[in-house]
Symmetry: C2
Subunit: 334 residues, 2 copies
């Protein structure tokens, strides 16, 4: 593989000139520029971005850590991150934490060793010292899908508390009084935790006693949602409506109800969270809380790049809008 030195020799210029042709072509006389371009062609020169990164100490790479790319919600935000990153000359390295904080910590280490210019993290545990280390090192990073709203850690997210509140309010408005919640494990996802708080608060505001029997934990998969719903139905005093803390759970729950011979929303109402692409295409279509995942990725990447490039002021804390999308999976309690 040829280097700028080869090109330089071939074009009878110095390596500095070749470098200039690559990075600031305007600073070089058109004639020599042409000569260099020709030389690059004849020796099939390929630019080595790694070597550049080595000297400039900028890899133009962003590390993106998410629970798993397999969840459509994170695919969407990943796409948003990528689009903004690429538009700004950055590439994205992807890492899955599987909701395990050890994997998360390991990924942060690996990515930093690889000299990524910054990190976007959808974290599962804020207690560790890992994030504090990043802060101490003044390493550029940003929390995505974050529940953090103030402090030194930059973040982009939605108001999960509000989401839980909206979902529950919708069900209460439909005359439901016995409302279950199928939630992701709190220790793995503080988002789920905040949604639960919104749920509880809304119950309280409507004079409905909170019943711990109506909280069930599940993994974020349809299968788990299906099982969870069946457990609810088989309880002594089953709910008439269930708030699932994401759409994958909700879709599983719908299937679970179906398998138990229950009509939706006639016998039981189901509401999800996320509004992933297929939420409107399942049958019955899914009532859910929409969060702008793609946009979240975009804005997260924009904010991170600002930090990386020194254009940022004090830590940003963006809270994107969410909204209730009423569809067919919820109906009046009869």
């Amino acid at each position: 593989m040829s280097t700028i030195l080869d090109v330089a020799k071939l074009a009878n210029v110095s390596t500095a000139t070749v470098s200039r042709v690559i990075n600031s072509p305007d600073n070089v006389r058109p004639k020599t520029r042409e000569r260099v371009y020709r030389a690059m062609k004849t020796c099939r020169y390929k630019y080595n971005a790694l070597a550049r990164g080595f000297v400039t100490k900028r890899s133009h790479t962003i590390g993106l850590i998410i629970p798993t790319i397999t969840n459509p919600v994170f695919s969407e935000s990943t796409r948003g991150v990528q689009d903004v990153a690429n538009a700004n000359g950055y590439q994205v390295i992807l890492g899955n934490s599987d909701y395990q904080s050890e994997k998360e910590a390991a990924l942060i280490e690996v990515f930093r060793e690889r000299q990524v210019d910054g990190l976007i993290i959808t974290t599962t545990n804020l207690k560790g010292n890992i994030l504090k280390n990043l802060l101490d090192d003044e390493f550029p990073y940003l929390l995505l899908y974050s529940t953090v709203r103030k402090g030194p850690m930059p973040s982009v997210g939605v108001d999960n508390f509000l989401g839980g509140y909206l979902a529950t309010g919708h069900l209460i408005q439909l005359k439901h009084r016995r409302i279950g919640m199928l939630a992701g494990e709190f220790r793995f996802s503080d988002r789920s935790f905040h949604r639960w708080h919104g749920y509880k608060k809304c119950l309280k505001d409507n004079q409905i006693a909170y019943d711990p029997e109506l909280l069930l934990h599940a993994r974020y998969t349809p299968v788990s949602g299906c099982k969870g719903l069946k457990r609810f139905i088989n309880a002594k005093n089953p709910p008439t409506a269930v708030f699932c803390s994401n759409d994958l759970l909700a879709i599983g729950a719908i299937e679970g109800a179906r398998q138990m011979g229950l009509g939706i929303p006639h016998d039981i109402s189901i509401i999800g969270f996320d509004d992933m692409q297929i939420a409107s295409f399942v049958s019955p279509s899914l009532t859910t809380i929409r969060q702008p995942t793609y946009e979240m990725g975009r804005q997260g990447a924009e904010a991170l790049i600002d930090i990386i490039e020194g254009k940022a002021g004090k830590p940003v804390h963006k809270l994107l809008d969410i909204s209730l999308i009423p569809r067919e999976s919820t109906g009046a309690n009869t």
Copy 2:
């Protein structure tokens, strides 16, 4: 940021020894090893993998090019690639081509400039000289979801022709004679093209005349599937069954039928392709052709790493098994 030189000074050893402690600790006396470890701690040393890559000419990075991470099928295979890559010390850079060969070509360039050790490409156009260039440069790469079965280009995929044949055969067995196909654009996806060939061949083998009116092209989205199905229904002589060339289309088609007031499978049968995670959770659950996407990613990454590390013999051509998964969206023609 401290370097091995700082560590070396602090531990009173040479940089070579520090490097040894990092890469082959057994080759260094335990006592000095300890001294070095301590020195690394006191000056908060962080290993620079970029610098290593620069000298070893191995970045331990794989470039993965897919149409879009937003399609669950590609999320799954991406996960497979990542799992194998990470287990072998590689990281994955992700690029979306959006089914555009120019973007694909640009990504290949960018990734090569970044000195990725190899590429995994789910390509959309094999005609270009781009892949031939890779071959000429002896650059490690592999085609995923590939229809290529022989020749110098290593590939992992499934038999899409067979898939199309199986899907069509299933419908014919259910007494359907007028079978439509909702297909991804052939020029963007040779996979779709091969499925169509399987479809045609199966019709022929069953003495059913091929009717070009029964081929409709669509983008790989539920919305497009929905529109496509409506167009079919509004035709003079509509099909009684539709083979969609992926599940996203099929889910959209089901919704389209529903909006037209048609019962599934009573009024019209729908079969998809992929068996993505939620295929069994939509209602009616989706009959489809299952392809092992996660496993495809795994095997692709394994094969690529073999090539990178010089363990490969002649180009591999793996064809993974596919199978018909009959569910509720298809039924007998009445």
